[in-house]
């Protein structure tokens, strides 16, 4: 079947899944695959996987196709869209756990949980487009990673379709559980290369009370980062972000670097933190509360760098972040206390400039024992650019073995992960 053209492939898929569940890719999806299937349950995915393995057809899971379309240099044959698998299977507010199919968006889950004062505290940009499958598969995180951790810390159970079409589950519905190997960790950040996640179980967290967003602006990114580290030492924060000058406008501070520190708690706690943070930032710190704070936070979370010709994520030790950012010579949004920043260039840039910048960022990261992962790059500069840094040889050897074990036919989103996995 791998030699079939698209129409023949679609025809064959329709015979397995039904005509209404097979279509041509549109928009972003084309970067992942030309042909898209929309299964309604794990059993259909199982059947599909089985068939693809038999015929040597490659496939990849898709949510809104924003991540894989960027990572893949060439499409796979079939995109497996999870959009029809978008039910909340079980939400127990008093247990603070939720089971949901992988095609549900983060926003849909959180709009239900919000009714009970809860949320899944993962906050990549555009939660309305982020499916739970993509959240886990790409280990997406945002400002809240500082206080709540990432998907790996919140995922307590998973169901996925593995090789041979096997329906596998790991973990469970309880918040504390050490029975069996931790398949949740193995799948988190695996980018669809080991299995297709069909269902996720998360522990939820309460919304913070009295959420307050402190904003202060500075002439330079270096000053902002120094102030941020004082804020970090002064209080237990929900998030601590620093944006470089080109993003200042987004927060009404055109041309200035901005620190955005979030905190909350009881009224007394919030009052104390307010004083600590004002003191630490040493500027006319603006304190946003209630809806203003939430709007400011959403604006912070949803920075998507759409205008940038290249975006990459730098990860170093938190203490090394200021000097690493200075050496990278790029615009950025930083999760300052976590040592992570999204770097980007502005304006029109040539392929050479883009490759040069990424190469420089990688050198900086390496010197600080950190990593750079390219998140997005314009098509004209895509060729020859490694999206992932390579881990050390021994770790990569294990990763290759893991891939071969979980995907012996090499059909689960092959060829786009670390080391060409």
């Amino acid at each position: 079947m791998d030699q079939l053209d698209s129409s023949e492939l679609m025809h064959n898929l329709a015979a397995v899944l039904g005509t209404e569940r097979v279509r041509i890719a549109h928009g972003n999806e084309a970067g992942v695959a030309a042909t898209v299937v929309e299964p309604e349950n794990a059993e259909q995915i199982s059947e599909l996987v089985h068939k693809c393995e038999t015929d040597g057809i490659t496939f990849a899971p898709m949510g809104a196709s924003r991540t894989l379309a960027q990572i893949r240099s060439a499409p796979v044959r079939i995109g497996v869209s999870l959009t029809r698998m978008n039910r909340i299977v079980n939400y127990e507010p008093d247990d603070m756990t939720a089971v949901a199919e992988a095609g549900l968006t983060l926003e849909e889950l959180n709009s239900v949980a919000a009714g009970r004062g809860q949320r899944l505290p993962c906050d990549p940009a555009k939660p309305e487009l982020t499916t739970l499958g993509a959240l886990v598969g790409a280990a997406k995180a945002g400002p809240l990673r500082l206080s709540e951790g990432g998907p790996r810390d919140l995922l307590i159970g998973v169901r996925f379709v593995g090789h041979g079409g096997r329906l596998i589950h790991g973990g469970g519905r309880v918040v504390k559980n050490v029975a069996g190997y931790d398949l949740m960790k193995v799948l988190t950040g695996s980018f669809g290369t080991l299995g297709i996640i069909t269902e996720t179980t998360f522990k939820l967290r309460p919304f913070p009370q009295n959420y307050t967003l402190a904003m202060a602006s500075f002439d330079s990114a270096a000053e902002a980062l120094t102030a941020a580290s004082r804020a970090e030492a002064a209080a237990s924060l929900i998030h601590l972000e620093v944006v470089s000058q080109s993003l200042g406008e987004r927060f009404g501070r055109t041309g200035r670097s901005v620190v955005l520190a979030g905190f909350g708690g009881s009224r007394t706690e919030a009052d104390h933190y307010r004083a600590f943070i004002s003191n630490a930032l040493r500027r006319n710190t603006q304190m946003l509360t209630a809806n203003d704070a939430l709007a400011g936070y959403a604006s912070l979370r949803d920075i998507d760098f759409d205008h940038a010709p290249v975006v990459a994520e730098l990860a170093v030790l938190p203490s090394e972040l200021p000097q690493s950012l200075a050496a990278c010579n790029a615009e950025f949004r930083a999760h300052a206390a976590s040592g992570i920043a999204q770097l980007f260039l502005c304006g029109g840039r040539s392929e050479k400039e883009i490759h040069g910048a990424v190469s420089r960022w990688r050198d900086v990261a390496r010197a600080a024992r950190g990593y750079v992962r390219v998140l997005r790059v314009l098509d004209h500069a895509r060729g020859g650019l490694e999206m992932f840094d390579q881990p050390n040889e021994a770790a990569l050897g294990l990763m290759r073995r893991l891939k071969r074990t979980f995907d012996p036919h090499n059909v689960f989103n092959p060829g786009c992960f670390v080391g060409g996995i």
């Binding site: 127990e92 008093d94 247990d95 603070m96 756990t97 004062g117 951790g149 790996r152 810390d153 329906l167 596998i168 589950h169 790991g170 469970g172 519905r173 309880v174 504390k176 559980n177 050490v178 029975a179 069996g180 190997y181 931790d182 398949l183 960790k185 193995v186 950040g189 695996s190 967290r205 309460p206 237990s236 009881s266 007394t268 706690e269 104390h272 933190y273 990860a315 030790l317 938190p318 203490s319 040592g339 992570i340 024992r369 950190g370 990593y371 992962r373 992932f388 881990p391 050390n392 021994a394 770790a395 990569l396 050897g397 294990l398 990763m399 893991l402 074990t405 979980f406 670390v418 996995i421």
Partner: protein
């Protein structure tokens, strides 16, 4: 009793190992090896043929290369405080103990990281940074003895788990010596991972992926202040309602522990710490945060649990009173000796809202088997520790205690729970794994294990039951305190 099933080892192994670790690094006399015949799960015993005590990664690697050449299996061991028979040698002649690898290698307070060898004792990590206002959050009850390597193997928890997370949330990087002797650096001190989360796969793998020799851990900042409350209830039902009310109010205490009447009674009889004998259940609730907010939060909590049916709420007025409350909780198991000659505990987990149902079920099981069962447990995360009391001199009681334990675990699973919250599967609960995992789930887990250990020589015969195999439990569960 379990036996070491592998054929007698080649005596030439001893000098070969001595060459690597020195004469004092190899123990081969049966009288000395007897100490290593079990961990905290004392029901089954099996001595290793040899114990090796390496001092560093290079020695571990050399040992594993040697065992690889000879196709011999091994068991990693930390302090032997595990509760599920995780380091019981089963068809594994060589035990490798990390106790001499106990150096703290680097402390990086600016980034809240600490790098340690795997034989470092859990509490020593906190002790190394306490003066500077930091702590290492996972704090199993055995923390004065248990090692970081053992914690990594078991993904250990502790009373602070509810708020701060278990071991896997605090390990950023590890150095792992694979069963063929290759040394692999997995993860790093940096927050983001490069490639698959192999650290996450190794933490909680119960020593079946090789030997962890070093780890980079996350440190936490010590909160300014604590408040500890004791809430008394007429019955277990109202106490569990209070647990739900606390969590629903958006409060995540740093500890939330429950004792039922039988346990309260036993503790008071034994230690006279001032618990009312007529209380149907008590909750110990601890919160932490900034000093200025603590009294207000304690008042709010008090109102909340009163609303849920608490008949009395006492606030520890100072550190001495706080210590007394924790003494009552921590000594609960010691008090059981007054009630029965033997006892066995379980480590099941249920969704928090199922606590009243599982406790009713345990009462019913107690009645059905005519055995007393007490409850003292981590209520905040639904992790129960029912204590089944029996007399081992009475064969019928022994049988009933085994069956009662199994019924409790089955009930946990039927309520959407799990077999173990923090003690691990080990050899103890392998037979029950099919209650929560399908044959295919178990097959995939076995495949994952073989990624690290293709020959299945690292801690063999643990966690995953052999396909079609059946483990016969001859004795009730463990008897040592938690």
């Amino acid at each position: 009793m379990a036996t070491n099933l592998q054929k007698p080892f080649d005596p030439r192994l001893i000098p070969e190992l001595q060459e690597i670790v020195g004469d004092d690094g190899v123990v081969s006399r049966a009288t000395e090896l007897k100490v290593y015949e079990c961990d905290g799960w004392t029901i089954e015993k099996s001595m290793p043929d040899l114990l090796v005590r390496p001092r560093n990664t290079a020695e571990v690697s050399a040992i594993l290369q040697l065992l690889h050449r000879r196709n011999l299996s091994f068991v990693p061991r930390g302090a032997g405080t595990g509760l599920s028979g995780g380091c019981l040698p089963l068809a594994a002649p060589v035990m490798i103990c990390t106790s001499r690898m106990n150096r703290i290698l680097a402390i990086d307070l600016a980034n809240r990281r600490i790098e340690v060898e795997s034989g470092v004792v859990n509490l020593h990590v906190t002790n190394a940074v306490k003066a500077q206002g930091y702590f290492y959050a996972p704090d199993p009850s055995s923390q004065v003895a248990c090692t970081i390597g053992g914690n990594i193997a078991e993904n250990s928890g502790g009373p602070h788990t509810l708020k701060y997370g278990v071991t896997t949330n605090h390990v950023l990087g590890i150095e792992l010596v694979l069963p063929d002797g290759e040394i692999a650096e997995l993860g790093s001190p940096v927050e983001e991972r490069c490639g698959y989360d192999l650290v996450g796969a190794v933490v909680g793998a119960e020593g079946t992926s090789g030997i962890v020799t070093r780890a980079t851990l996350r440190l936490m900042r010590e909160p300014q202040a604590h408040r500890t409350l004791l809430a008394l209830f007429r019955d277990v039902d109202s106490a569990t309602r209070a647990v739900t009310a606390i969590i629903a109010a958006g409060i995540i205490p740093c500890a939330l522990e429950m004792m039922d009447q039988l346990i309260v009674h036993a503790v008071e009889e034994a230690f006279h710490v001032g618990l009312p004998q007529d209380a149907g259940a008590v909750l110990i609730i601890e919160i932490d945060g900034i000093s200025a907010a603590m009294d207000e939060q304690a008042r709010y909590l008090t109102e909340l649990v009163r609303g849920a049916g608490a008949t009395e709420v006492r606030l520890a007025r100072d550190e001495n009173e706080r210590a007394a409350l924790w003494k009552a909780r921590k000594r609960a198991f010691g008090a059981i000796g007054r009630l029965a000659p033997n006892y066995a505990t379980q480590d099941g987990v249920v969704p928090r809202t199922k606590l009243p149902a599982i406790l009713r079920e345990i009462t019913e099981i107690s009645r059905r088997y005519d055995l007393r069962i007490g409850n003292v447990f981590h209520a905040g995360d639904g992790n129960i520790h029912p204590i089944v009391m029996y007399d081992e001199r009475d064969a019928s009681q022994v049988r009933r205690a085994i069956d009662a334990g199994r019924d409790i675990l089955k009930a946990c699973v039927e309520m959407g729970g799990s077999l173990t919250g923090e003690h691990g599967i080990g050899v103890e609960k392998m037979a029950e794994m099919p209650l929560i995992f399908s044959p295919e789930d178990l097959l995939v887990m076995a495949e994952l294990r073989r990624v690290f250990d293709p020959g299945q020589r690292s801690n063999p015969n643990k966690v995953i039951p052999a396909p079609g195999g059946c483990v016969e439990i001859a004795f009730p569960r463990r008897q040592a305190p938690l």
